[in-house]
Symmetry: C2
Subunit: 297 residues, 2 copies
């Protein structure tokens, strides 16, 4: 990345994730908070209709609408498809975007703390992520699989970050997480300013990431109905090691179901409300230490 | 109350409160769990369409549809109005119900632990509530204002209890709260059995209740938009004393807003997701010690 000229802060991509939506309202009311001298910052309330009614989406999940072929497909005309195309015009187009950095603000019912989710190993993103996790132990960095990442809003530019905070219920503001997310945004904006002004003194060589490797669904019956819950011992244990044989579900009838994998994994998005309909009880990651990341720059 | 002949366990009155809905599914699969010898127990999934789509309601809040005049008003024809009339036929009619006891299972994003909410000082209900709070310190008993109580599903019979558990996000199953709710139901069913069989050895003379006295809304602007969040010091502090001058909100701009009442109150339903649209940031209660309740029997 040469110079950062345009930064977009996006909120309410999911209308019932209030942290991002209300942070945007704050920034629109007090624009000096996100103003820096060396680049422009814009805010974008991604799904205003869903935010108004406090639902994740109106017709379909907006954050699955950004595949290139879907953005170009004029027959897709749900509310979210239309919004995706509008957002692609404001921030994109996807292959040649107007913005250099996207911060897409999300929240989760899982205990993800302050998570940064990236979709590629863009050297600048890795340096920024390493900096954030170095100065704040609450920050964890997830790397999504490429095929997943390509339909997400953040895929509109090379340095698109999701900030995923939790645990917080859908449809509520949690002041503590609101303030932590706000501070994380200022830290990022300050880093971008320092980068533009050649004031980044330290580059990082190593970064711990949680590499997404797949997901596990709830046990279901023939009708697709859930037959088990996240085990109490796993609830809120995002980013902690899960060993083969550890309990992961408790069936409605009271039986423990254990993890049948062959090696240690690190679950995230454990018991995320919005993922019930997607067939995801948790996502599994591998904890990896990336090294020599400063050489990528 | 003479003899208990009919008990109804109701779940998913709100479709995104999964604890009750999935407990019903369990009871329907294993009916012996709720079978007792001296009375009949039936289960009722109150709002099946809302439960299917994981939303509180389809058209309007079902748990506000049970006013006598509304049940008799044939022009009210929303999905929930129709469901309310059907439920009134199954459990009611309201002035002469077929069931003696209703257990209506709810959950909340507020930290209400295991709350029993009653709508009147029915002597039998008070004894049952006193028993439950005596044997389990997690159980708290709330008494709703009469005008509020009359539109609720539980108002179909004199001994209608809401079991309100939290904190749990909408649209998720929390195994720990699921198990606690399940055990509380068995305790109640066993008490009813013992009552019928004249095996209640101890009557209680005193009961601590939290008497609902009103609510506070979020600070809003002229457009009705929320301008402040529950203060971090108040979040999850349901049933704890709130003193005049204590902080209750933190505005988006960072200012503390304090409680302006003149005496100590005990807030409940703090930051309940479903109450944002109802203009309720929390409900206020007074903690009261009822005495001589055994003389009411």
């Amino acid at each position: 990345m040469n110079q950062i000229n345009q930064v977009a802060i996006v909120g309410a991509t999911h209308g019932n994730e209030f942290t991002g939506g209300y942070l945007l309202k704050k920034f629109e009311q007090f624009p000096h908070l996100i103003r820096r001298t060396s680049y422009e910052t814009q805010t974008l309330l991604a799904n205003p209709e869903a935010f108004k009614v406090g639902r994740r989406y109106i017709d379909k999940d907006l954050n699955r609408c950004f595949l290139s072929q879907d953005l170009q497909n004029s027959t897709l005309s749900s509310y979210e498809d239309i919004r995706a195309k509008a957002i692609n015009q404001i921030l994109g187009p996807k292959d040649n975007p107007q913005v250099d950095v996207i911060l897409d603000l999300h929240s989760t019912t899982a205990n993800m703390g302050l998570s940064i989710i990236i979709g590629n190993k863009n050297p600048f993103c890795l340096q920024l992520s390493a900096y954030l996790s170095a100065i704040n132990p609450l920050v964890k960095v997830c790397l999504t699989q490429t095929d997943q990442a390509s339909y997400l809003l953040r895929s509109l530019c090379q340095c698109g970050l999701v900030i995923e905070v939790g645990p917080v219920a859908q449809g509520v503001l949690n002041a503590d997480l609101f303030l932590k997310t706000e501070n994380l945004i200022y830290t990022i904006l300050d880093y971008l300013e320092a980068y533009n002004q050649n004031r980044i003194s330290e580059t990082y060589d190593a970064l711990t990431i949680y590499q997404d490797i797949g997901s596990i669904d709830y046990p279901r019956n023939n009708l697709g109905e859930i037959q088990a819950m996240i085990h109490p011992q796993l609830q809120f244990r995002d980013y902690e090691p899960l060993h083969p044989g550890d309990p992961i579900f408790l069936s409605l009838s009271g039986q423990e179901i254990t993890y049948q994998g062959e090696s240690i994994v690190y679950p995230v998005f454990i018991n995320e409300a919005a993922y019930y309909e997607k067939g995801i009880a948790m996502r599994l990651t591998q904890k990896q230490q990336l090294s020599n990341i400063s050489k990528l720059i």
